[in-house]
């Protein structure tokens, strides 16, 4: 599914004295089955743009197409539906729910879809296996190391088998070696036919051979790519 942005704007606190235009007229086309990186300094609007593409928020103006569908203007319910079927998210702070086990965390995005329980457990276990976490399945997530937490976050993003993977500064909390490992996992995901969208200002990410396209953002505008 191709993602197309047409003159997208995002204004925070619109109409108030502290109004701030974080995205100022971005037009883009992101190819399917590619690894694309949004690069830019902190505050350049990477996360804002990513959350609009991932149906976590709406643009103030402009259009976003996901394949045939026009996202901007869809009611909340539909956005949620698209989000959980189409996107998998990996957040900068991992955003795992502490107190729950690794397995429970991974299965969370599937709960609203109510799949067969045994099947869901099997899928989750297979994912854990693939990322070398099978022995941690029952551990509470707060016991995990940074690298392990990152991999649990990837497993959670994959549980609903999404076409598009979105990762916001995934290596910000990892050292160089773990960052390289992460890029290796991205390569394998790319090979399994997924679209990957990463934001980063980490050279390990945007200089990686895995990344096929780099789009540079500056002050809410595209400056390169």
């Amino acid at each position: 599914m191709r993602i197309v942005l047409e003159n997208v704007h995002k204004v925070f606190n619109q109409g108030r004295p502290n109004a701030h235009e974080a995205i100022r007229g971005v037009s883009l086309s992101i190819e399917p089955n590619r690894v694309t990186c949004l690069k830019g300094a902190s505050g350049s609007g990477k996360s804002t743009l990513l959350s609009m593409i991932g149906c976590l928020s709406r643009p103030t103006a402009g259009r976003i197409h996901l394949g045939e569908r026009l996202l901007s203007g869809l009611p909340e319910r539909f956005l949620t539906d698209i989000r959980r079927h189409t996107f998998g998210f990996i957040f900068q702070q991992f955003n795992l729910i502490s107190g729950l086990s690794v397995l429970e965390n991974i299965m969370l995005p599937a709960y609203p879809l109510a799949p067969d329980h045994r099947q869901l457990t099997a899928t989750a276990s297979a994912l854990l296996d693939r990322f070398g976490l099978a022995h941690k399945a029952r551990n509470p997530v707060q016991w995990l190391s940074g690298g392990e937490a990152q991999r649990v976050a990837i497993c959670r993003a994959l549980i609903n088998d999404p076409r598009i993977l979105i990762a916001d500064e995934p290596t910000a909390n990892l050292d160089t070696r773990l960052s390289r490992d992460f890029m290796e996992q991205i390569r394998r995901l790319r090979e399994s036919g997924r679209t990957v969208l990463i934001t980063s200002h980490d050279p390990v990410v945007f200089d990686s051979p895995v990344v096929e396209r780099v789009i540079e953002l500056c002050d809410g505008q595209v400056v390169g790519g």
Binding site: S57, T80, R84, F89, F91, N95, P112
Partner: protein, 376 residues
């Protein structure tokens, strides 16, 4: 099928999240149950008590006739029984002998009563079980009184009064007429009061009116009035308990409100995560609803069950200090268990409902906001 599975997943998650804040939720459950327990105890207790009292009074005479001297209850001459004359509707009349006796040994008042139907020998008494308990005596033992003239009289305890009537007989001493007159100094030809039985309640007012006309120095007391007085005494005591409870309830409301308004940053973050990974606002709401509902239902059941045991199997012993005022010898009574559906519903409504609502309101505000907060 899918719907059921969906609810099961939600429930799984809720139980997991209730468990991971074990300390906090247990504390909450405890406070909550305690309040339900107190409220339910008062409700069950007063309700059962009123019923019991109504039943006992139902068996008591319709009219009690007292003689008044200087505005106070005085002994009534036996020939008043004759002076009453013929009264249509009165099926029986008799003089009663009863009084109070202060026992300095246990610093309590006994109620002395003559019970001709028990055919007691002049040296025998039957006593209520509270007296037996406090004095540490039983059948065959002796109870000694200092009589009105300073003489000491000993009575053999023939039996104890059945404890199912203990609420009203706890402090009772039954004796023969002669023993009563001699020990209390009530001369032959005098009674404490006169009781009249009337079969048709519609005639009561008429009869009472005639009595005051024929015997101007007497006061007829209708059973109806006694019922009303008891009722108001109990309502009043119940009122005190409720005022005490109000403090507890208030604390709870503040507590719930605090929970309601102050969604912790942690909870806010979690809701954001759930929404970001694809939960709908409705899912989050349902989850929080069930969380509150499970907790308050458990508290309700636990509190109510404890209250039931407290009132019907432990003689409402926690209320002793408040309710004891009306009898120094606190009866160890067994109330007949009664559960009033409306009462349960009221209690349920006022304990479970506000809490569930309080937990839902603020979460709604959070869950309608954009889920992109987790990106920051």
């Amino acid at each position: 099928m899918g719907w059921l599975r969906h609810q099961r997943y939600l429930l799984d998650f809720i139980i997991a999240s209730l468990l991971r804040r074990k300390g906090k939720n247990l504390g909450l459950l405890l406070v909550y149950s305690l309040i339900v327990f107190m409220l339910a105890s008062v409700m069950l207790f007063t309700h059962a008590l009123k019923r019991e009292m109504g039943q006992v009074l139902q068996a008591s005479p319709e009219i009690i006739l007292q003689r008044i001297e200087a505005g106070r209850h005085a002994l009534i001459p036996a020939d008043y029984l004759r002076k009453i004359g013929r009264l249509r509707g009165v099926t029986a009349r008799k003089g009663r002998l009863w009084g109070y006796f202060y026992d300095p040994a246990v610093r309590a008042n006994y109620t002395l009563m003559v019970a001709p139907e028990r055919r007691l020998a002049d040296s025998e008494v039957i006593i209520g079980s509270a007296i037996a308990r406090t004095r540490g005596i039983g059948p065959g033992d002796y109870l000694t009184f200092r009589a009105h003239d300073g003489e000491a009289y000993s009575f053999r305890v023939r039996e104890l009064l059945a404890s199912d009537t203990e609420l009203f007989s706890a402090d009772l001493v039954l004796m023969s007429e002669r023993a009563f007159r001699v020990s209390q100094g009530v001369a032959e030809g005098w009674y404490t009061d006169i009781v009249l039985s009337v079969s048709n309640p519609l005639e009561l007012a008429k009869i009472a009116e005639k009595l005051t006309l024929r015997l101007p120095d007497t006061r007829p007391i209708l059973r109806e009035e006694i019922l009303r007085t008891y009722d108001s005494i109990f309502s009043w005591r119940q009122g005190i308990l409720f005022v005490l409870l109000l403090g507890a309830i208030l604390a709870f409301v503040i507590f719930a409100w605090d929970k309601a308004s102050g969604l912790s940053a942690e909870e806010r973050r979690e809701i954001g995560i759930l929404k970001a990974v694809g939960w709908e606002t409705g899912d989050v709401l349902r989850m929080k609803f069930w969380e509150g509902a499970i907790l308050s239902l458990m508290a309700f059941l636990l509190g109510y069950l404890l209250a039931y045991l407290h009132v019907f199997h432990a003689s409402a012993s926690l209320f002793e200090p408040v309710l004891k005022g009306w009898a120094v010898l606190y009866p160890a009574f067994r109330l007949t268990p009664v559960i009033d559906g409306l009462q349960v519903a009221t209690l349920f409504f006022f304990s479970v409902f506000p809490y569930v609502v309080a937990t839902i309101i603020p979460i709604w505000q959070v869950s309608v906001t954009d889920p992109d907060a987790v990106m920051r």
